[in-house]
């Protein structure tokens, strides 16, 4: 049986979230690329510009959600791939919690960076 | 080497075997199935058309029985025919209750369609794959009940006591050869062995039957002392693909497909075989017409004629006969939208088999048979379409129940040599039966031994047989088999005459003699199909002989059996069953009476016209 500790760890929840985040990511990732490579060129990026964008609440929230969604989507994908390669038992638990911790660290760091980027001017 | 002990051992896991196992299990018996193929690989899966059952208002089992009797050309036994027709509705609904995916009417009930020879549209079906669904549905029930299945386990011989009179013998089990490991296993049956090994289609080079249809059950029961009944009645289907024998259904001719010879003539009309019905004449008429054309030099390669449906137009063909396109392209490499399909007659069904009564019991205590390997007899000299599948479930269930009870039950049909009413005076041109020091025993062993001893003893004999075959550096059985098939196809086909049948008996004898020299060249114990097929070939030889002998004896034209210079049905002389008993290696042909006396009425032989 899959680990049915809570209804949220059911495999179908992760499956569904993987799709939901994907849908969200399609939009945001496209937006992100357009903005930072085509509208503003990457080589012209300066912290000042970044701060200008980041201090708009809408943009900030979008970027943080982007980070959270992307991390969940990516890490969950990696976990699924490893499970499909047949990792079992303890290895599997280690991988699982390892990935969860890594993701949390990534998100924490990401938010911290984003917060810094607002330059404390978030309105 | 192991002994497995169960109450009931079912040999064969086609429709009949599965139904028998379920029935025995429901009686509370500990059942095991022993089968050379995994159950879902059984040839029951190939049946397309349907299951006859009188289910609806306006229909009755009596009408079904009447049709069946008429179809059998009055060679069916009334108690068997009536049992079939009475039990079929219940058994068919049972399948539905087990979830079988029947085709449905608007109101959600099981559909029925008209079929040749039936006075009412009473054929229930599941698309064009009725047999597939029937087989899988019953296998599912076997899984549900946790019935033990020993699959890829080839049963080589029955373990039967050695009393002089077959009617005194008791069957205690059988010997299986585990194909995967090469081990021999003894199977001890406390109450009964049910044989359900299907038909012997491989007697012919060209057949709609599977490669596994070697009639092992008939041959084993025969050698153990149960007579084979009415074996000369073989149904040939007129439209099968030449390279594989795959059946092209009557649907094509029904829709308007036309048969041509190599001269481009529509021979069914132009050569006067069936001036009214043409291509739609009955199976045997069409089959004989095709063979005549080929014999007279108007055939295509592979002894085929052409079945053309191109004029029906692509739309109609893809709409109604799509699966024919697949069959012809997959199995013959011919696109029927572009070119005519080559077809020729092929062996389709064996009406004869192991003599049983309406409970599936043979004359040997503890030995039962059901399905195509048995002859109860319901089909007489000709089987109606859609009557074989109900036979599997009706008599499968009965055989299973009775085998579980372990008690002989009363029956209206008598079995065994004591049922003999007449001795035959047919003279075979050659000696029949055992050749010299035959590697195969009769299956007979010890008189008053315990069941385990009987099985053990047979096991020992069979081991010797295997060792001998493995050690012999002899000829390949395949050569013998193909000679056998060739002579059967040449001489015991849709056209039969005395000279040909005698020739066949001589050829069969020659095969028997050559078989003395066969050896298995594959040295491996793992999955040695060479060994298995070598044993099968021996079984085919035994049956070929019985079949041909019966055909030689029967000097009349009845049902599927046609004889040159005897082209009419002779009711005064031939309303009787042909029986061949192995007799310890010295086969004997005799006759028993046909029972036309039904529960309430007597079935009067009438001219079979439709």
């Amino acid at each position: 049986m899959a680990e049915h500790y809570t209804s949220f760890s059911r495999d179908d929840t992760r499956w569904l979230l993987q799709r939901v985040t994907a849908v969200f990511l399609i939009g945001v990732l496209a937006f992100h690329f357009m903005l930072l490579h085509f509208v503003h060129h990457a080589y012209e990026i300066t912290l000042a510009g970044t701060t200008a964008r980041m201090s708009q609440p809408g943009y900030f929230v979008t970027m943080v959600s982007f980070l959270v969604a992307g991390t969940f989507h990516g890490v969950n994908g990696v976990y699924n791939a490893l499970v499909n390669q047949g990792i079992e038992g303890t290895t599997r638990s280690i991988v699982k919690y390892g990935l969860i911790i890594t993701s949390l660290l990534l998100i924490a760091q990401g938010i911290r960076v984003a917060w810094v980027m607002t330059g404390g001017q978030l309105v | 080497m192991t002994l497995h002990e169960h109450d009931v051992i079912v040999v064969g896991a086609g429709g009949a075997g599965l139904r028998a196992a379920i029935a025995a299990h429901e009686e509370g018996a500990d059942v095991a199935m022993v089968t050379k193929l995994h159950p879902v690989r059984s040839h029951t899966g190939a049946a397309e058309g349907g299951i006859n059952a009188a289910l609806r208002e306006g229909d009755s089992w009596e009408d079904h029985a009447y049709d069946t009797m008429k179809g059998s050309d009055y060679l069916g036994d009334a108690p068997a025919v009536e049992t079939l027709c009475q039990d079929s509705p219940e058994e068919t609904i049972q399948l539905e209750h087990w979830g079988m995916a029947f085709s449905r009417e608007e109101d959600g009930r099981v559909s029925q369609r008209p079929f040749g020879g039936l006075s009412f549209p009473r054929t229930t079906y599941a698309g064009a794959e009725t047999g597939h669904h029937l087989l899988h549905t019953m296998y599912e029930q076997v899984v549900k009940r946790g019935i033990q299945v020993y699959d890829e386990q080839y049963v080589m011989e029955l373990a039967v006591t050695d009393h002089g009179d077959p009617e005194d013998r008791v069957c205690h089990g059988c010997i299986g050869y585990d194909i995967k490991t090469g081990n021999l296993n003894g199977f001890v049956a406390n109450t009964g062995v049910v044989i359900a090994t299907g038909g012997p289609g491989q007697l012919y080079a060209h057949t709609t039957n599977a490669v596994a249809q070697t009639g092992d059950g008939q041959a084993m029961a025969y050698r153990a002392g149960a007579p084979l009944q009415d074996m000369e009645f073989v149904q040939f289907h007129p439209t099968t693909l030449p390279s594989t024998g795959v059946l092209i259904s009557e649907g094509v001719r029904g829709e308007g497909g036309i048969l041509y010879n190599s001269e481009g003539e529509r021979f069914m009309f132009e050569h006067g075989y069936a001036n009214n019905d043409g291509e739609l004449a009955s199976r045997d008429v069409v089959a004989r017409a095709e063979v005549t054309e080929v014999n007279e030099g108007r055939g295509y390669e592979n002894d085929a004629v052409h079945l053309d449906m191109r004029h029906l137009g692509e739309e109609r063909i893809t709409d109604r006969l799509e699966n024919i396109i697949h069959l012809a392209t997959d199995f013959e490499g011919v696109d029927p939208l572009e070119e005519p399909m080559p077809v020729k007659p092929g062996q389709h069904y064996a009406m004869g088999g192991i003599e049983t009564d309406e409970n599936g019991a043979t004359c040997i205590e503890g030995l039962y048979a059901a399905g195509e390997c048995a002859c109860v007899s319901v089909h007489g000299s000709n089987r109606l379409g859609g009557n074989a599948l109900p036979e599997l479930i009706v008599f499968g269930a009965r055989a299973g129940r009775h085998a579980a009870s372990g008690e002989p039950a009363s029956s209206q049909i008598e079995t065994g040599p004591s049922a003999r009413t007449e001795t035959s005076n047919v003279d075979a041109p050659v000696e029949l039966g055992r050749v010299g020091a035959d590697a195969v025993t009769d299956g007979g062993t010890l008189l008053d031994a315990t069941p385990n001893e009987v099985v053990d003893h047979t096991l020992e004999q069979e081991r010797e047989r295997v060792e001998t075959l493995m050690e012999t550096d002899g000829i390949n059985h395949a050569d013998v088999r193909s000679d056998l098939q060739e002579t059967m196809t040449e001489n015991v086909n849709v056209f039969r005459n005395e000279a040909g049948l005698k020739q066949a008996l001589e050829d069969i004898r020659a095969c028997r003699e050559r078989y003395q020299d066969v050896g298995v060249s594959d040295p491996s114990r793992t999955f040695n199909t060479d060994l298995m097929q070598t044993i099968e070939t021996r079984n085919l030889i035994d049956q070929a002989e019985v079949l041909t002998l019966g055909a030689l004896a029967r000097t009349e034209f009845r049902g599927a059996h046609w004889r040159e210079s005897h082209q009419e049905r002779k009711d005064e002389e031939w309303l009787k069953h042909t029986m061949v008993a192995w007799n310890g290696g010295d086969p004997e042909l005799y006759y028993t009476d046909v029972i036309l006396e039904g529960e309430e009425k007597e079935y009067e032989p009438k001219v079979r016209s439709y």
Binding site: S7, D12 | E48, I93, Q141, S243, H326, G333, G385, P523
Partner: protein, 289 residues
């Protein structure tokens, strides 16, 4: 002279079957026609007639000295129009080497014994025309299954997968004796394709996910689909079935590779069925939130 019956064991309901012909089947017809035309154009197939084809067959036997190391044997088989790969194998066995071992029985794509790896794809030997293949024809046992001998593979994993989904109808609430359960035509149509499975194992062998032994596999899931979608079975059992296929080894393992659907000799839209079950499962669980 007709004292004989005209019988018909036919596909008389071909008509109803066609009404809603699944796209997969339609595609197959088209593909076949294309192939056929190609063949016609490239060479009259009578050209291959009289020729010999080269069959390269995988050989292995744990018990026989020189077969312990797997190898390929060459067989030269005289070609006949209509010859299938199975025919060529039978010919090789009966004429050259009686120890050549492979499962086969029906020769008509219904027993499911002879799924093989032919020129790089899972197919039924009996259903594959030699004419449609490039030469030489390479025949191997099904990948991802252990080889017992020559072309014979161990099917236990496959059978276990099938058994795991409780592959039998379980409705206790049945109408009395001679009454059938009602099922409407649409529902029968819905399960029709899924009931066609012949247990050949081609799908399982083609699926990379099923290569590890921790996935039920497309055929077993399709079997579950066959019952979940069958309205004759009640709610409670459907619930239980959904739970089974949602387990660890179940539907979530499928990564929509489609190779199962591509190889299925019975044209069963396996990926579609698996996806539908995933959605069914999600819907079912959403109900409880």
């Amino acid at each position: 002279m007709s004292t004989h019956v005209s019988e018909s064991e036919s596909e008389a309901d071909a008509a109803t079957d066609q009404q809603d012909r699944p796209a997969a089947q339609q595609r197959r017809v088209e593909k076949k026609r294309e192939r056929h035309e190609q063949r016609e154009r490239a060479s009259d197939s009578s050209e291959t007639e009289g020729q010999t084809i080269l069959l390269k067959v995988f050989r292995y036997d744990p018990e026989v000295e020189d077969k312990r190391e797997p190898r390929f044997d060459d067989f030269h088989v005289p070609f006949k129009k209509g010859m299938t790969v199975l025919d060529a194998l039978i010919y090789s066995r009966d004429h050259y080497d009686s120890s050549l071992t492979f499962r086969h029985s029906c020769r008509q794509a219904i027993c499911g014994s002879d799924a093989l790896f032919i020129n790089g794809s899972q197919r039924l030997g009996c259903q594959t025309q030699i004419d449609d293949l490039d030469q030489p024809v390479r025949v191997e046992p099904l990948p991802h299954q252990e080889v017992v001998k020559d072309l014979v593979v161990d099917m236990e994993d496959f059978y276990e997968g099938m058994d795991a989904v409780e592959p039998y109808f379980q409705e206790e609430n049945l109408p009395s004796d001679l009454e059938e359960q009602r099922q409407d035509r649409a529902n029968r149509e819905k399960i029709k394709m899924s009931t066609r499975c012949i247990w050949c194992g081609a799908c399982m062998s083609s699926c990379n996910i099923a290569a590890g032994d921790n996935y039920l596999g497309p055929a077993a899931i399709n079997k579950a689909y066959r019952f979940v979608m069958d309205e004759r079975e009640g709610e409670a059992i459907e619930q239980q079935r959904l739970e089974t296929i949602e387990e660890e080894q179940g539907v979530w393992r499928c990564q929509t590779q489609f190779s199962c659907t591509n190889v299925c000799p019975k044209d069963i839209p396996l990926t579609e069925h698996i996806q539908e079950l995933k959605r069914e499962a999600v819907k079912n669980n959403l109900k409880f939130w």
